[in-house]
């Protein structure tokens, strides 16, 4: 921890706020380019089988059509190496007649206007030989197998020890297929200029996308520029390069014009990943006074037949609570569906629903308060690694959240609290996620006018990365916010990690901190050398404030100091990464969620009345944007708990509610006031700011607070999400 204050100017407004509220922020599908053409993908109507014939003449002859590309005439994509239809970059776009899931791209139609491209796409006629498909995890559990990569089993102590406990429960918990659905559609605009490629992309990582396009299209990485200063939400969906993006880049090269491709909302359900349907069994046992003696957690998740996807569904169970005997198992069932991907919280959110529900069930069976049960089994060192925590203020989270919502004032008995025709319930749950610090590089340029430009190829899919980085830079150098500009979202900038796994603020923030500190050291050196020309000469402590350096009596502006130094600017770049502290400590962020809700006794309608969500995410860098992130996580959790489920008609292997009218995400009227509490104590080891990640813990565990509250309200335990009114009748 350096000389660090974070209280320079109070809360900072979002630095790109004005652009966002005036419509000036440009997203991937909005760059005005000459000769722009439009791509539309045609999706397979069947889930499994082969294309036997594909008729494109009519589409090709339609007005304005520039090209129709299918597996029969697809230009070569150099990066598609190896046998088969799937490679390191995932499914190879239109590489054979084989169909692996409904909606799989079978043709790309390119035309001079969007309307013409869309119409021509409807003229492509495809004949298939259909093979029986299987898309239903629940009927295919016998095919469950360990993933090809990664560890699928874990145990410490005795297996299935819960069954010997004085009090135990064993239940199944089910998470349906859920879809990210950021508001911005999957969008890309690709521009080739010779072998130079510029891609305006919806991506959570411009550097990763740059590598990916360079590899796929066989051009040097420096020839590829990926631009994404604004990303309309991601939630994990833009963590990788998808076939639709490959299609756009390929199509642009083929027609020799800039090409824009925006997925339709229904394509967003099948072409860019999702949280997979997962069936879990949790057994958990304790002594009569509530000391956990065994937890067993078994998860089986859906994946694609052509590509394996794994995530940390059972991870939380391994390290959340102090318990001597823990065993977990994670298996996959390949189905005729598109490949899943990480969705906010990722697997941990799936697992937390099961674990945190099971704890609630056990608490009731023990006749013990659910929060007390958690406190009683509090882990003071990481039960998995045995390491001490870098910092852990989960107990404070429990206490402050409980106080705020009045947890201990409730009548714990199920169905005991009423408000007119509504049954009232309280529920709580917790979440945890590894606190990471990915390597990053940042450049800082202190200009002659005393303003600071900081650059890093980070992304901002919504959390306010730019805002937090400006805050860090301003605080390190004692600059007013409006003197600092942070540039991100361009692969030409110094490398930064992909925005995922709650690592950006920590990793990029550390790089920004380090490079600004280096700038500061240069200035201090100059001050110590007497470059300021102060009457009283050198001293150890300089005061950095409002763009000036002083000693209390005299001060000089950065601008004048630079002049005195004979320099037009200070331009530095610093790499920043974690060190051996990662081997000495266990790094985690923690959250606790409390929900008070009403259930309508007659109709099963649930109304969430109050939410208190508490985070131990270390030091909070930018409070205003952090609050928005926590609020957003809880609202995502409302969707997960009460309404989100992508439904298949397994007879056809097709999704039947792939639109916003049938796949419900929360609307404004679903959401009550939400209190967010930050413990706001710095982690001494993670990075110079002491800031841990927050994006995932905002959501992880939240859904269980709702189902636990529903149990409290009604006495009805729902173990299969989402809890729609029909399940409570």
């Amino acid at each position: 921890m350096g000389n660090y204050f974070f209280e320079t100017e109070g809360p900072i407004d979002r630095v790109d706020g004005k652009q966002k509220v005036t419509g000036q922020a440009l997203y991937a599908g909005e760059y005005p380019l000459e000769k722009l053409c439009y791509g539309v993908l045609v999706g397979s109507s069947i889930a499994r089988g082969n294309i036997t014939a594909i008729a494109t003449k009519e589409a090709e002859n339609a007005a304005g059509v520039l090209a129709v590309i299918t597996h029969l005439n697809r230009p070569a994509i150099p990066g598609y190496t190896g046998e088969g239809d799937s490679g390191p970059a995932g499914m190879k776009l239109m590489s054979s007649p084989a169909i692996y899931f409904a909606g799989q791209p079978v043709a790309l139609v390119i035309a001079d206007t969007f309307e013409r491209a869309q119409h021509a796409a409807s003229l492509v006629k495809v004949a298939y030989k259909t093979t029986e498909s299987s898309t239903d995890l629940s009927t295919q559990l016998s095919k469950a197998a360990a993933p090809r990569r990664g560890k699928s089993e874990y145990s410490r102590g005795e297996k299935n020890a819960y069954k010997k406990a004085a009090v135990w429960i064993e239940e199944d918990y089910v998470i349906p297929h859920e879809v990210h659905n950021p508001m911005e559609l999957g969008s890309i605009t690709a521009v080739w200029n010779g072998d130079q490629l510029t891609v305006y992309d919806k991506t959570q990582g411009v550097k990763a996308s740059q590598r990916s396009y360079a590899q796929l299209f066989g051009v040097p990485q420096d020839n590829v520029r990926v631009v994404a200063p604004f990303v309309g939400g991601g939630f994990g969906m833009a963590l990788r390069t998808w076939p639709y993006e490959v299609a756009a880049v390929m199509g642009a090269r083929k027609v020799g014009q800039p090409l824009k491709l925006m997925l339709s909302r229904s394509q967003m359900f099948t072409l860019v990943g999702y949280r997979p349907h997962t069936i879990q069994q949790v057994g958990i046992g304790a002594t009569r006074d509530g000391i956990l003696t065994g937890i067993s957690h078994d998860a089986t998740a859906a994946t694609a037949s052509y590509e394996e996807f794994t995530e940390g569904v059972v991870r939380m169970t391994q390290f959340m609570y102090s318990c001597a005997n823990v065993d977990t198992r994670y298996r996959l069932v390949p189905l005729d569906v598109s490949v899943p991907t990480w969705m906010r919280g990722p697997g941990e959110a799936t697992g937390a629903f099961a674990l945190e529900s099971a704890l609630d069930e056990l608490a009731y069976k023990l006749d013990m308060d659910a929060l007390d049960l958690r406190k009683k089994n509090y882990a003071y060192t990481d039960p998995e690694s045995g390491l001490p925590y870098s910092s852990k203020f989960l107990m404070d989270c429990y206490d402050q959240g409980a106080e705020k919502i009045g947890w201990y004032k409730r009548n714990r008995q199920p169905r005991s609290m009423k408000n007119g025709e509504w049954l009232e319930g309280y529920g709580m749950s917790s979440g945890v996620f590894g606190a990471h610090r990915p390597a990053a590089t940042a450049r800082a340029v202190l200009a002659a006018d005393g303003s600071l430009l900081v650059q890093s190829a980070a992304s901002d899919i919504g959390p306010g990365t730019g805002t937090a980085m400006v805050k860090i830079a301003a605080d390190v150098l004692g600059l007013p916010y409006d003197k600092v500009r942070f540039e991100l979202g361009d692969s030409r900038l110094p490398p930064a990690p992909t925005q995922g796994g709650s690592g950006t603020n920590s990793g990029v923030g550390a790089a920004v901190h380090d490079v600004c500190t280096a700038v500061k050291e240069k200035l201090i050196l100059a001050m110590n050398e007497g470059k300021a020309g102060f009457s009283k000469q050198p001293q150890q402590e300089w005061l950095f404030e409002k763009g000036r350096i002083g000693n209390g009596a005299e001060s000089i502006s950065f601008s004048d100091l630079l002049k005195n130094m004979g320099q037009s600017a200070i331009d530095l770049t610093r790499d920043s990464k974690s060190g051996e502290e990662r081997q000495k400590y266990a790094f985690y962020s923690f959250s606790v969620h409390f929900t008070r809700l009403w259930v309508h006794a007659r109709t099963g309608v649930v109304r969430i009345k109050q939410i208190v969500t508490v985070a131990d995410a270390g030091k909070i860098v930018s409070e205003k944007t952090a609050r928005s992130q926590m609020v957003g996580g809880a609202i995502g959790g409302i969707g997960m708990a009460l309404m989100e489920e992508a439904v298949f008609d397994h007879r056809f292997g097709r999704m039947v509610n792939n639109n916003f009218a049938d796949y419900h995400i929360p609307v404004n009227a679903d959401v009550p006031d939400i209190d967010t509490i930050f413990i706001n104590k710095p982690d001494p080891y993670i990075n110079p700011m002491g800031a841990k990640g927050m994006g995932e813990i905002a959501l992880i565990g939240y859904a269980a607070s709702v189902t636990n509250a529903i149990y409290h309200a009604t006495g009805k335990r729902i173990r299969e999400l989402p809890v729609t009114p029909d399940k409570l009748l």
């Binding site: 309307e115 109709t603 097709r654 679903d670 009748l729």
Partner: protein, 325 residues
């Protein structure tokens, strides 16, 4: 979407002429359903006749009640003072539907003519007898959580998605339609039809006919009416089940009762048996429960929508309690 002809008309007569010239044309008013259907290729009329300039937007008192022009928007009707004071049930039902933006676009006539939201109807790769006669009903044996429990056939189990129409059928409204042959009036309960063997036809409107107005007779339900909509989220969602209730209560006795349900049939579903069970009875929970218990007589679930058999009576009791209090 195909590129279609577009024609804008300025009078009812010109409109009726235009549709006679090209019977395959479709009228477009708000467009909130039609444009979506055209984008998805569910329907592809070669010509659109834009009727937004027709003088059919007025809401007027008549000697027997009120007349609402077919082009009055859903929001205009919902906030109209006469509607709110004399027919609060209609205002409530309209506010329960769609979103403020869509209500600003959608018209009364268009609301009556909106197509089902059955997923198989919208997905052109799936079987649907309503979209393509003879292709089969995907919802039978498929995803039918939102589907009908009354009056369905083995050809179609789709439901009519409107909230407004549920209130209008409860209020004994009449649809006024015009064609070259003149004007005719269709009682609201007869306007929409059951699927039978021809689910492709939603209603009794004949080729060349244009809805010009909806008339609602005066009533005494102002004090005791309520529209209850049960859905998967708090707003901007179609009904699992909805109930329109209008009661006239004199000396705590129900002198007149109207009940209709939405989300349960191919048409807004009037529950005459429940109305009969309420009429003349004291306005009490016991009465409501007894009446609601016969609401699902003749109803049938198709698997995923079986819960509606339980939900509908509960919703009726709830709506009656709210309306009577």
């Amino acid at each position: 979407m195909i590129n279609f002809d577009y024609l804008r008309t300025a009078s009812v007569n010109a409109t009726l002429d235009a549709i006679k010239r090209e019977p395959r044309a479709a009228f477009i008013a708000g467009g909130t359903n039609l444009v979506d259907l055209m984008k998805r290729g569910v329907t592809s009329p070669p010509r659109l006749i834009d009727i937004n300039n027709l003088p059919l937007k007025n809401i007027e008192r008549t000697s027997s009640g009120i007349s609402i022009g077919a082009l009055a928007t859903n929001s205009a009707v919902a906030i109209n003072e006469m509607i709110r004071s004399d027919f609060p049930l209609l205002s409530q039902a309209l506010h329960a539907g769609a979103s403020p933006q869509l209500r600003n676009m959608a018209t009364v006539g268009g609301n009556m003519l909106q197509r089902t939201r059955c997923t198989y109807f919208y997905d052109t790769t799936m079987p649907c007898n309503k979209r393509q006669a003879g292709s089969g009903c995907g919802a039978l044996g498929g995803y039918n959580r939102m589907h009908a429990i009354f009056g369905a056939s083995d050809k179609c189990i789709a439901v009519h998605p409107s909230d407004m129409c549920v209130a209008l059928v409860a209020l004994n409204a009449t649809a006024v339609v015009r064609s070259n042959k003149g004007e005719r009036r269709i009682p609201f309960g007869d306007f929409h039809r059951l699927p039978g063997d021809t689910p492709q036809t939603d209603n009794q409107l004949k080729a060349g006919e244009l809805i010009t107005a909806v008339e609602i007779p005066s009533n005494k339900f102002q004090q005791h009416s309520f529209y209850l909509k049960i859905r998967d989220r708090s707003s901007y969602a179609f009904a699992l089940v909805s109930v329109a209730v209008a009661l006239s209560i004199e000396n705590n006795r129900i002198s007149d009762a109207r009940i209709a349900a939405g989300g349960v049939a191919h048409k807004p579903w009037r529950l005459l048996n429940v109305e009969k069970a309420l009429t003349g009875q004291p306005a009490s929970v016991e009465t409501f429960q007894k009446a609601a218990s016969i609401a699902t007589q003749g109803a049938k679930g198709y698997g995923q929508n079986n819960f509606k058999l339980k939900l509908l009576p509960q919703a009726i009791i709830q709506a009656l309690e709210t309306a009577s209090s």
